[in-house]
Subunit: 513 residues, 2 copies
């Protein structure tokens, strides 16, 4: 068995079952090994940012180690933006990067680069394989690192000779560590703060799934605490049978106002909230200076157990309080704008939908309206690196083939990784892309206005408008094998969206805003 | 004057006249400054790899500092692959990256990352601006670094508060250093080797332009030396009125055979040739072990002066020897394949064309046939990071608006940065894209065969074929505003290519191979 086969066999034994790949010459032994070893589905993407974003989406939904296969430094670099998002999402990822044969590195051939320096900013764990005999153990170590709670990006650099040389064999499969329990004094401190009043819980990580939300709802029922989540979440379970919680506003002035009266902020599976960007005369930290920050459970600790213990300490009943009924907006008619678009999606999204939200300014109305729609999952733009939506939808659809994936996608962001559409077509993925075409980097136009520029000049307009020429997303989608239609009013959007939801396989609707 | 304006004014004073930009919130003061200061043309790209590749193409042709404006770590990361190519091309680039306000970095907001670690592998010079007062001097230092012979990538990280705070003013404009002269003992050593026979000159950098090639031809006329260039060149001037030189083969076995009899290899503006990849039982170094390596002029030294001095030392006449006549292949008919495609382009390319060659396996015939076509410039894939062709064509067309740019583009590589088509349309650039559609990563299929796999399995096929679905490049181009047609035989290619050459503005021909 050569090193490549030892790597793939070790990965399979540790739970890897998909490989999001864009390989090159230095990965050819690994490609050949994917043909010799059963158990890994190779998924080709035509750009590495699709691989890494898809792996992130797959990891968020499956909680399995999500593998990528990438080509040297420049290939890896193309995947960095979505690895940045994956790092912020704390997704368990295994990047495998082929490198030049170890003896060829000194030649400084054209594709040689410092891969470690590129990998460090987005990886919690980085290792270069030193010889084929180590490859199995290194692979298992990488997967264990990726799975270590709360999850992280692990990057394994594999010189080509370590792939083609003879290896010892397969290592024992990776162990999955349990999240660390939270000590009782932290539960008691949070309980005291809640009894004092004017407190909020900010939830993140697994606290945003069913068990965590139900435990948090018990805490709320036994206190007057507000329940909050960050603007951008890795994965939020939401909808009728789950307790609803508040989203922090995006712009810092609004977030600061929202948190203005808090005496204490209890952090459960996330970090203290900070402004997305720094602005003149606006603080980085969103909670008031005087507000006490209490870490109930850090990311990677047993946040659900801590929330249940906290509810118990407050004397909350075991039963989750009564929930609001399913309630949807009416199906809209008239003009198509961000309001009617959000209304239509919230009115029609099916039970169990996975909503990948990279709609930016076009998505806020949907988010607000869909809170009491039937049960659904939201995947957000955790790291703010745009170009995450379409790739993440690919990974979500592969992780959950029985569920409908709806990608709410801004046009500006969508152009960074539009190649994901091709992979949707090749793999026949059940994804409906709602392409929100406002023909602008609208968020930047808002920022220009926030900076006090009432009349943007020609440079500011040139750099924030996507018109001239207008993108034709239907042509782009068809060019990559995805059926597409344009909707120019609410009625046609409702009709096309309903049809796309009813049909399996990928479809794109260009919502002309 | 705020820091942003001081930066732009200093850049203009030092020769910057174009900014290839994909800005975000942290660059808004710089965007506003582009409206207050005259002299910089802002060019928007919808993906950062287009910005960096365009800057590279612009720099190769203009020898001016080529500026990019990029958004934080993830935005910069999207530009790394083409910066890798620019680094290998030794192009003078100025990357300006906005970062969070300095006081906001400690908050570790979602988009925060270690930009320096990302920038180092592709930059010869990296600096973070510490305060607005420094910004003008830092900008000039960055441009001087970029222009230092032979040219390099300089990366300036500018926190948002350094952009919006009050700055001192504009610094003195950047000085351009002359290349260092070569000492006479190196000339003499090379002359001795040439007199001994079985010698070759490997030319790179400015040696591949008119004066360098003419000097090298004098050396050849006075000795029996072969004149060679690397497979992938930053910029090669070529065609009828210039001496023809040999290209080293791509695969190492062929290159080793080609160099097998050499007693000495004289390096003029480039490094010793090495294999593009490492293969089992193939050495990294392509020249024989016993062959003497003689560095006549390192990159950044006065290579043209050294070549002329060498010719003088050999007693060569001042006149350049007689040149071959312009000779073109006949316009082909029949089936369209890599042979007839190459024949058609070489037969029809206009005088003064700039050929951006990322055609990979589809481009070799053209390269061989066009050597005695009318004068033209070739821009090659210096770093091997694919996705360089279309962006570089953007930059070439902006640098040389009076010349026709022909992008010979492989389909697999083209998909990495197809967003460049939109910028071609917006800027009405005079680029003809010859999209070589073989619906495969053909080079990888060759590598699979070279690895001894006669019958690729389903994984190897899935990861090297671009069929299922077939990309429709005409739809993709039209979706981004570029007129496009498909050519399915040599006759229709000749007709469409002739028409595109005659019409100004961008056009894409999908050559169906």
């Amino acid at each position: 068995m050569n090193g490549a086969e030892a790597l793939i066999r070790s990965a399979v034994a540790s739970g890897v079952d998909v490989c999001f790949a864009n390989p090159g010459t230095t990965e050819m032994p690994l490609v050949a090994a994917l043909d010799r070893v059963r158990g890994v589905r190779p998924v080709l993407a035509l750009f590495e940012g699709v691989c890494t974003g898809a792996a992130d989406g797959y990891a968020r939904l499956s909680d399995r180690p999500a593998m990528t296969l990438l080509h040297l430094g420049p290939g890896f670099a193309n995947g960095i933006a979505n690895l940045h998002n994956a790092r912020r999402a704390r997704s368990p990822l295994l990047n495998v990067i082929g490198d030049h044969a170890s003896w060829h590195l000194a030649a400084d051939a054209p594709l040689t680069s410092d891969i470690v320096s590129l990998a460090n900013p987005v990886s919690g764990w980085v290792r270069s394989v030193r010889c084929a005999e180590n490859i199995a153990a290194d692979t298992v170590a990488a997967i264990e690192a990726a799975l270590a709670p709360p999850g992280q990006v692990a990057t394994l650099i594999v010189p080509a000779d370590c792939q083609w040389n003879e290896a010892g064999g397969v290592a024992a499969s990776a162990r999955r560590m349990a999240p660390a329990a939270v000590a009782s004094d932290r539960i008691e401190r949070a309980a005291r703060a809640l009894r004092d009043g004017d407190a909020a819980l900010l939830l993140g990580g697994v606290a945003l799934r069913g068990a965590g939300l139900r435990a948090a709802a018990r805490v709320r029922a036994a206190s007057s605490a507000r329940l909050l989540h960050d603007v951008f979440v890795a994965r939020l379970e939401r909808g009728a049978d789950l307790p609803a919680i508040e989203r922090l506003p995006y712009f810092p002035e609004q977030a600061i106002a929202s948190l203005g009266n808090l005496r204490s902020l209890i952090l459960a599976g996330t970090r203290e909230p900070v402004s997305f960007f720094g602005y003149p005369n606006v603080p980085s930290r969103l909670a008031p200076e005087a507000c006490e920050r209490i870490e109930l459970a850090a990311p990677g600790e047993d946040v659900v157990g801590a929330l249940d213990a906290l509810a118990d300490a407050l004397g909350a009943p075991r039963d989750v309080p009564a929930l609001p009924r399913v309630e949807r907006p009416r199906v809209p008619s008239g003009a198509l704008d961000v309001a009617t678009l959000g209304q239509a999606v919230a009115a029609l999204q099916p039970e169990g939908a996975i909503i990948v939200d990279e709609a930016a300014t076009s998505g806020a109305v949907w988010f607000a309206l869909a809170g009491s729609a039937p049960r659904h999952t939201v995947l957000g733009l955790t790291g703010g690196a745009i170009g995450q939506g379409l790739p993440t939808a690919v990974g979500a659809a592969i992780a959950c083939p029985q569920r409908k994936v709806i990608a709410l996608q801004a046009d500006g962001s969508g152009m960074y990784t539009a190649q994901a559409l091709w992979t949707m077509a090749r793999e026949s993925l059940d994804v409906v892309v709602v392409l929100c075409a406002n023909r602008a980097y609208r968020i930047l136009q808002l920022e220009v206005a926030r900076a006090g520029i009432a009349e943007p000049g020609p440079a500011a307009r040139a750099l924030t408008e996507l018109s001239n020429p207008t993108l034709d997303w239907c042509a782009l989608a068809r060019g990559m094998g995805v059926p597409a239609v344009r909707a120019i009013d609410a009625g046609s959007f409702v009709k096309e969206f309903s049809r796309a939801l009813a049909d399996p396989g990928p479809a794109l609707i260009e919502a002309w805003l």
